[in-house]
């Protein structure tokens, strides 16, 4: 039997606000435990929340970038449950009147465009973090993250493969980055997702029973979780079993999911309208002001790269997927570097080095890349030397010309210095000379290679080419 997979996602993104959602504590990551707290975010008796307006701005921004309707009259609700990382014992969230609803994003998988519906985007607060102290056998709580604002993006069950879901996640990430709504630092947990997945025999209309895998904090893990869970469900059905509706935990190290709680054990969150906060009234003027300030989004940017910079679609798509790479590209091109050359390096060597060194961003300014590229385009260094210069720039931000000199990468473009070397090669290789003279262009490669070796890579290959022809009078 052939199965079809049905996937819906819930994505939590930490917003890039400076202060928390209901108090003025900082949201900066990595501070000492419980240093970014106050009576409000630690749920002291008697305190009251005041909504950070920037949170609504960001939610509207995300909603507009994802083609949502903006709710004119929204409200916040309490989601009640007990856990030590939730000091009020309720999370302030939004239940039936989220800020954004009925949106969509188009994603491209294998050349086909697929529209994924977005049910809603709502605002809520993050919880703290439990730290298990094995030495003392105790659990401790860090409330720094408590009250950090989040948006939750909930999709329709529109995705039909882990690949589509991954493409959607990547699209959401790039939009949140472009709009500045979230910095999307996965390692810091600022982007996390829950995966709802079911399978059904191809052609069946009704959805199969779904499971939910919660709090997956990387896209690659999410992808593996989806592939794994799809496999588990299909095998279960093929063995005559039934999928049980449940919340599961994906163990990425083991590559398996485990049941956390069944449907029967599901919490009753007893949502009700938060009486300490007033309704969120968003008028047209507010929405239009944000719409007018929306930056260029990845799809528009991609189209511009193709139309104005003449990049191939493949390059344009890859570059614009990451705002930081794309911004870097623009700055470098803005300094006069040829677009395709910059694109090749960013997609090739630079992304390889970033990956090898597990770095998130390029550690040197675009001006250094532009200068390095111009050394190459002005034939001062070879393409191989350019790679070496870039590698060196990752170690130290330094003038590319200086690097080229230090490493002896400047090409010899002085004819008088090259002629004796080439003459010697011609004399030593009469057979190759004959081949070249008889029209075998391949032999030229041999001479250039020999000349490069003899000059320890410093010979300008175009010049070698020219001199060989002159000396042989062909």
């Amino acid at each position: 039997m052939t199965f079809e997979t049905v996937i819906g996602l819930e994505i939590h993104a930490e917003l890039a606000t400076k202060s928390k959602i209901y108090c003025s504590c900082s949201t900066a990551f990595g501070a000492d435990v419980n240093t970014q707290t106050c009576p409000i975010c630690t749920g002291m008796p008697g305190v009251l929340p005041v909504l950070n307006k920037k949170v609504v701005d960001y939610a509207i921004t995300a909603g507009l970038a994802m083609n949502c309707e903006i709710t004119e009259y929204g409200k916040q609700d309490r989601k009640n449950y007990f856990y030590p990382d939730l000091p009020k014992a309720y999370q302030t969230s939004q239940y039936d009147l989220p800020i954004c609803k009925n949106g969509y994003l188009d994603v491209e998988v294998d050349g086909a465009i697929k529209r994924i519906g977005i049910t809603r985007i709502h605002i809520e607060e993050d919880a703290g973090k439990l730290i298990h102290d094995g030495l003392r056998g105790a659990s401790l709580v860090d409330y720094n993250r408590c009250g950090v604002p989040l948006i939750e993006i909930v999709t329709e069950p529109d995705m039909r493969s882990p690949e589509e879901a991954r493409a959607f996640l990547e699209k959401v990430k790039s939009i949140l980055e472009y709009t500045g709504v979230s910095d999307c630092k996965m390692q810091e947990g600022s982007l996390r997702c829950d995966v709802n997945l079911s399978v059904r025999p191809l052609g069946q209309k009704e959805f199969g029973t779904r499971t939910e895998m919660k709090n997956i904090n990387s896209f690659s893990a999410a992808y593996r979780a989806m592939v794994g869970e799809r496999q588990r469900q299909i095998e279960l059905i093929e063995d005559g079993g039934e999928v049980v509706q449940a919340t599961r935990r994906w163990d990425d190290a083991k590559g398996e999911s485990f049941e956390m709680r069944s449907k029967e054990e599901a919490h009753d969150y007893r949502y009700f309208p938060e009486p300490d906060l007033v309704p969120i009234v968003v008028d047209r003027e507010w929405v239009e002001r944000i719409r007018a300030s929306l930056p260029e989004l990845p799809d528009e940017r991609k189209r511009r790269y193709i139309a104005e910079l003449g990049l191939p679609e493949y390059d344009a798509k890859l570059l614009t997927a990451s705002k930081s790479i794309s911004d870097y590209f623009e700055k470098t091109v803005g300094l006069g570097a040829p677009a395709k050359a910059v694109s090749n390096l960013l997609m090739g060597d630079i992304s390889r080095i970033l990956h090898e060194r597990e770095m998130e961003s390029i550690p040197f300014e675009p001006v250094f890349l532009a200068k390095a590229i111009s050394l190459y385009t002005e034939q001062i260094v070879s393409s191989g030397a350019l790679k070496k210069i870039i590698e060196a720039l990752f170690d130290e931000e330094k003038e590319p010309e200086e690097i080229a000199k230090e490493k002896g990468l400047i090409q010899v473009s002085d004819e008088s210095a090259l002629i004796p070397i080439i003459q010697k090669i011609l004399n030593d290789n009469p057979k190759a000379v004959e081949e070249l003279k008889s029209g075998k262009e391949k032999a030229m490669g041999f001479f250039v290679g020999q000349a490069m070796r003899a000059s320890k890579g410093s010979a300008n290959p175009q010049l070698v080419n020219k001199l060989v022809k002159e000396l042989l009078k062909i």
Binding site: P39, T42, G43, M44, P45, G46, V47, L48, P49, V50, L51, R78, N80, F82, P84, P87, K88, A89, Y90, V141, D268, R270, Y271, F272, P275, D276, L277, V278
Partner: protein, 484 residues
């Protein structure tokens, strides 16, 4: 002699210093509060230090009417550095690291905080009997309750253990004890006084207000505590006004509505008579009185208990033994810690309401209970709005009976019925005042209630002040023996 305005005059004329006045009150608390039991915490040292500062301020001529005058604060209003318990075992050791906005405002006025006053646990109750710490007695008859939940506030002002006090009113918790103890008790419009730092019982109903010995003092205290607070999203950014200007205005042309539903069954005869007498007083003073109708009144009580319990079940969930307050001594694992802490830390009435509220919000019951109650709330508001198109104020009894004996209302529902005249005001977010209207045959105080439209506190004060001037009932005082 013991009102704010009288003391303020003496302080201004330098016939009395704040330190002397504070010492007088601390001495009286020392001698008389053992019988009354109005204070949970007395902070003598802090009070005397504040009094010293107030005297300096008075000397510089920078005093306001509240500078240097002592005050008692209900123990659910946060006071930085002073234990704030909500009269619960759960918070027996909780010392807030911050002041409630009202506390801060009183401190800015140079007020001298004498201590923290007893109450029903988490403000849930109508007799102060549910306090974890002690019973507060009615200064008029020590075998009777002072009312609640702000029983300590009412008793302390009545017995002159404080010139005035702050309390909170969720369903009558200021007006009912004020009536039982013969005080002027004001529950302001929802949103007029900041709730920041008031330990929440039912967020959409709670409001801080005052207990004073007369209406003039009521206006003086309201001037100090009312006003927008950016820390409370539900506080209203209204124009500042001097409420004392409302005192002494003529009543001619004022329209007083008397909702008939409030005088139907179950109202003690003497209280009904007090309302009828008040009608005569108002007519004599030039106001027009007329019977009116609030047909949905009977739904206010059930709606109130659903909404307040639902909100309370969520508001009180934070008391879990993790961060502050009481934690069970022995437990095995997290669920156990929660269950034992909350079972031991909360009293019966609080647990009853948490259970009721949790049930009302549960999936499958929400629509039938919480949602329905909110719909009723909307209708009750409309009921009042219709009345206020015609009338400036409404006149009702504050309570169906005067203060009863300890233990007399052992059935919770019988206790809840005592709130029948006060809860609708909270449901609709309106301002209301209870003023003394004489004594019944047993010598217990009677209170009558005036209700106005939202932010019409001035009309309430005008009407209350005129009645007080005409009748002089505010001068009645119980005799409280001082014990050396």
């Amino acid at each position: 002699m013991s009102t704010i305005h009288e003391y303020a005059e003496l302080l201004k004329q330098r016939k009395l210093s704040s330190v002397e006045l504070t010492k007088q009150y601390l001495a009286r608390i020392e001698k008389a509060d053992a019988q009354i039991g109005s204070y949970i915490t007395v902070c003598s040292d802090d009070a005397l230090a504040a009094a010293g500062k107030a005297d300096e301020r008075i000397a510089k001529g920078e005093a306001t009417l509240l500078t240097g005058i002592p005050v008692g604060i209900k123990d659910n209003i946060c006071t930085e550095g002073i234990t704030t318990t909500c009269a619960s075992k759960m918070l027996y050791n909780f010392v807030p690291p911050y002041d409630a906005t009202v506390t801060k405002r009183l401190k800015n006025e140079g007020a001298v905080i004498l201590g923290k006053l007893n109450m029903d646990e988490f403000a849930m109750g109508s007799s102060t009997e549910s306090s974890y710490f002690k019973k507060t007695k009615n200064p008029y008859d020590l075998t009777r309750v002072p009312g609640g939940s702000s029983g300590g506030s009412a008793a302390s002002v009545s017995a002159d253990l404080a010139p005035y006090a702050l309390g909170s009113d969720t369903g009558g918790s200021i007006r009912q004890p004020a009536a039982f103890c013969g005080n002027v008790g004001l529950k302001p419009t929802y949103g007029l006084v900041s709730r920041f730092g008031l330990i929440a019982f039912a967020s959409s109903l709670d409001q801080i207000g005052s207990f004073t010995k007369d209406v003039t003092d009521c206006a003086i205290v309201l001037n100090a505590i009312a006003g927008y607070d950016k820390m409370d999203s539900t506080s209203v950014d209204a124009d500042k006004t001097d409420y004392t200007k409302a005192l002494g205005l003529p009543l001619k042309g004022m329209k007083v509505g008397v909702p008939k539903q409030y005088l139907e069954s179950g109202i003690q005869t003497e209280i009904r008579e007090a309302v009828e007498n008040a009608i005569k007083v108002y007519e004599m003073l030039g106001a027009e009185c007329e019977e009116c109708s609030l047909p949905l009144s009977k739904f206010a009580l059930p709606a109130y208990y659903l909404i307040s319990s639902a909100e309370a079940s969520s508001n009180l969930a934070r008391f879990d033994g993790i961060k502050y307050g009481y934690r069970a001594e022995e437990y095995h694992g997290l669920t156990d810690l929660y269950e034992i802490t909350r079972s031991e830390g909360f009293g019966e009435e609080v647990k009853r309401r948490i259970m009721l509220g949790t049930y009302a919000l549960s999936s499958g019951y929400y629509d039938a209970y919480y949602k329905k109650a909110q719909q009723v709330r909307g209708l009750i508001k409309r009921d009042f709005a219709a009345c206020f198109e015609k009338y400036d104020v409404l006149l009702t009894p504050t309570t169906p009976t005067t203060a009863y004996k300890f233990g007399e209302k052992s059935d919770p529902v019988a206790m809840y019925m005592g709130d029948i005249c006060t809860v609708a005001v909270n449901i609709a977010g309106l301002p209301a005042i209870s003023i003394p209207a004489g004594l019944d045959k047993k010598g217990m105080p009677i209170g009558i209630q005036l209700i106005a439209n939202s932010f019409d506190e001035r009309k309430l004060l005008t009407a209350a002040y005129a009645y007080e001037r005409e009748t002089g009932y505010e001068k009645l005082r119980p005799t409280v023996k001082e014990v050396e």
